[in-house]
């Protein structure tokens, strides 16, 4: 992702400029929302507050990049089912259609006393309400021997962008008989079925290339994983003998990686691999941690009825950085939480009506061409957390027609949610 730092003003579209800057008196009359992070959580809050307040709230999106590559469907890019361009979305419509100010800067610090956000270029943005949606940071040292530098050789690809492209290049360069090792992450982490969809997409690529001796080893710190029965069934059906998933009882513990020799060591074995995908443990993005918005878990506690921070009444937190109870960390969840937060923020800033929070999520996973499964549910605040009210999951043994229809739905959802976030 492009992270060049530009002048703050350089990121502001002419439409927004006309409305936002001219007369300080006018500008001061408007309540200010600052949004940190332009992912599915932050961008959705920015859009919905700007759109539904009809310009009554001055909305600034703090995001260094000019476009966003979605983590969701980045596995489909890996598998050759989508182009990189098709999972990349510009922010320009948020500026031109809704008058959102786009500050193309990294947010460096939050001053909760003064209610300001300091940007990398030294600008301070004042806020009445702040939305913090920084997503995840990776705990590189959760896997001994791994580091940010090592990710250039053993990609994590858990933040979509150049890492995803690197992983695809490595995958496409494999020769028949080469070994892939994935180190899966411990809970909680972004996109629970994601590692296993990724394994499926890797297997799909190798199978499509006609590899007969391909071997993919998954070293998992968890005893079980999301949609496990569905993935296991699909792997057996489409990729027999190719994928070897190991829980802690099978590998005895992850000892670490050696980047130089491309080796993964567990208590019971050592694997020399041509491709190593390390997905480390995760925590809320740095700015949330630095601002004291996280608790001992490394994630941000929120009020389940509003997505407001548990520790600061002027700050809301949505998406992967938040502790959202039974909701998984997903783009769909972030978008759903964002609509609740946007409603509550408008209620506070413009006295508009608010309604009880309700949340939804669905995660689709592609196992092989036209074979897609899904899991999801609806959620409501209950006993101080976001609790699942009703959930559903695809069944093993479903018909090929239903699985194909589920993939059509998956693609339709992607088109819908990205239109909802970015246009």
């Amino acid at each position: 992702m492009k992270t060049t730092r530009r002048q703050f003003l350089g990121g502001i579209g002419t439409a927004a400029l006309a409305g936002a800057f001219p007369m300080p008196a006018l500008a001061q009359a408007k309540p200010k929302l600052v949004v940190i992070g332009g992912g599915p959580g932050g961008a959705t809050v920015a859009k919905y507050v700007a759109k539904d307040s009809n310009g009554a709230v001055e909305v600034t999106l703090v995001e260094p990049a000019t476009q966003f590559t979605t983590c969701f469907h980045s596995n489909l890019y890996l598998g050759g089912f989508r182009s990189f361009e098709s999972i990349t979305h510009a922010y320009d419509k948020l500026v031109s259609k809704y008058g959102i100010r786009h500050a193309r800067q990294m947010a460096q610090a939050i001053d909760r006393e003064k209610r300001t956000v300091r940007l990398a270029n030294g600008t301070n943005l004042a806020y009445d309400r702040l939305l913090v949606a920084p997503g995840i940071d990776l705990k590189f040292d959760s896997v001994p021997g791994y580091s940010e530098a090592a990710s250039q050789k053993m990609p994590h690809a858990w933040k979509a962008g150049p890492q995803t492209q690197l992983l695809r290049r490595q995958l496409n360069a494999l020769k028949d008989g080469d070994v892939i090792v994935m180190i899966a992450p411990p809970n909680p982490y972004r996109c629970p079925p994601g590692p296993y969809e990724r394994i499926s997409m890797m297997a799909h690529v190798l199978k499509a290339k006609g590899h007969k001796k391909a071997r993919i080893v998954v070293i998992d710190p968890k005893p079980n994983f999301s949609k496990q029965a569905l993935f296991m069934e699909g792997w057996q059906k489409h990729y027999p003998g190719m994928i070897e998933w190991q829980d802690p009882k099978m590998h005895g513990g992850i000892k670490g990686v050696d980047v130089k020799t491309m080796t993964v060591n567990t208590d019971l074995a050592s694997y020399k691999a041509a491709l190593v995908n390390v997905i480390p443990a995760q925590m809320a993005g740095k700015i949330a941690r630095d601002a004291g918005l996280t608790n001992d878990s490394g994630w941000c506690a929120i009020d389940a009825t509003s997505m407001k921070s548990a520790v600061d009444a002027n700050i809301y937190i949505v998406g992967d950085a938040s502790i959202a109870g039974d909701m998984p960390k997903s783009g769909f969840s972030a978008n759903s939480q964002a609509k609740v937060a946007a409603l509550m923020i408008r209620g506070e800033l413009t006295k508009s009506a608010t309604f009880p929070a309700r949340y939804t999520n669905t995660c689709w996973s592609l196992i092989e061409t036209d074979d897609t499964v899904k899991v999801g549910g609806r959620y409501e605040p209950k006993d101080g957390k976001i609790a699942a009210v009703e959930t559903f999951i695809s069944k093993t043994g479903e018909s090929a027609d239903l699985r194909k229809q589920t993939q059509v739905e998956n693609m339709g959802w992607y088109a819908g949610i990205t239109a909802d976030i970015f246009t």
Partner: protein, 125 residues
């Protein structure tokens, strides 16, 4: 369909006004246009408000009675999609009516009512 048919023949805005009255009378949150708009924000994660079909059926520009009927069929699990069963299951009849009015008021793509193709797709799902 119960007492709703008469109700649904009213215009969208009238429906919303009536709902507001009926809900406040029953002690629930007011259901004005803002409520319909908030409810619709859940739908548009998948169903595009422009009515564009890219894998998930368009729900804009439908006759309100059709919208309510289909949601009833999800609620009673006559229709099989578990996502829609879950969504419909938590909506009250007043909320479904508000959504029917809201999406009914939006224009389908290329003008006119839903095409035969989109009707067919809808029936399948």
């Amino acid at each position: 369909m119960h007492c709703w048919s008469k109700f649904l023949s009213l215009t969208g805005s009238a429906v919303l006004t009536l709902i507001a009255v009926s809900l406040s009378a029953s002690g629930q949150t007011s259901s004005d246009k803002a409520f319909g708009q908030y409810l619709s924000s859940e739908c548009v994660t998948c169903h595009q408000p422009t009515g564009q079909y890219q894998g998930i059926p368009s729900i804009v520009g439908w006759p309100e009675a059709t919208f309510v009927e289909i949601m009833d069929e999800y609620r009673s699990k006559k229709r099989e999609n578990p996502i829609m069963q879950t969504i419909a299951g938590r909506l009250s009849q007043e909320e479904v009516a508000a959504l029917a009015a809201y999406f009914g008021s939006l224009s389908p793509p290329a003008g006119g009512s839903p095409t035969k193709e989109s009707q067919k797709r809808r029936r399948r799902q």
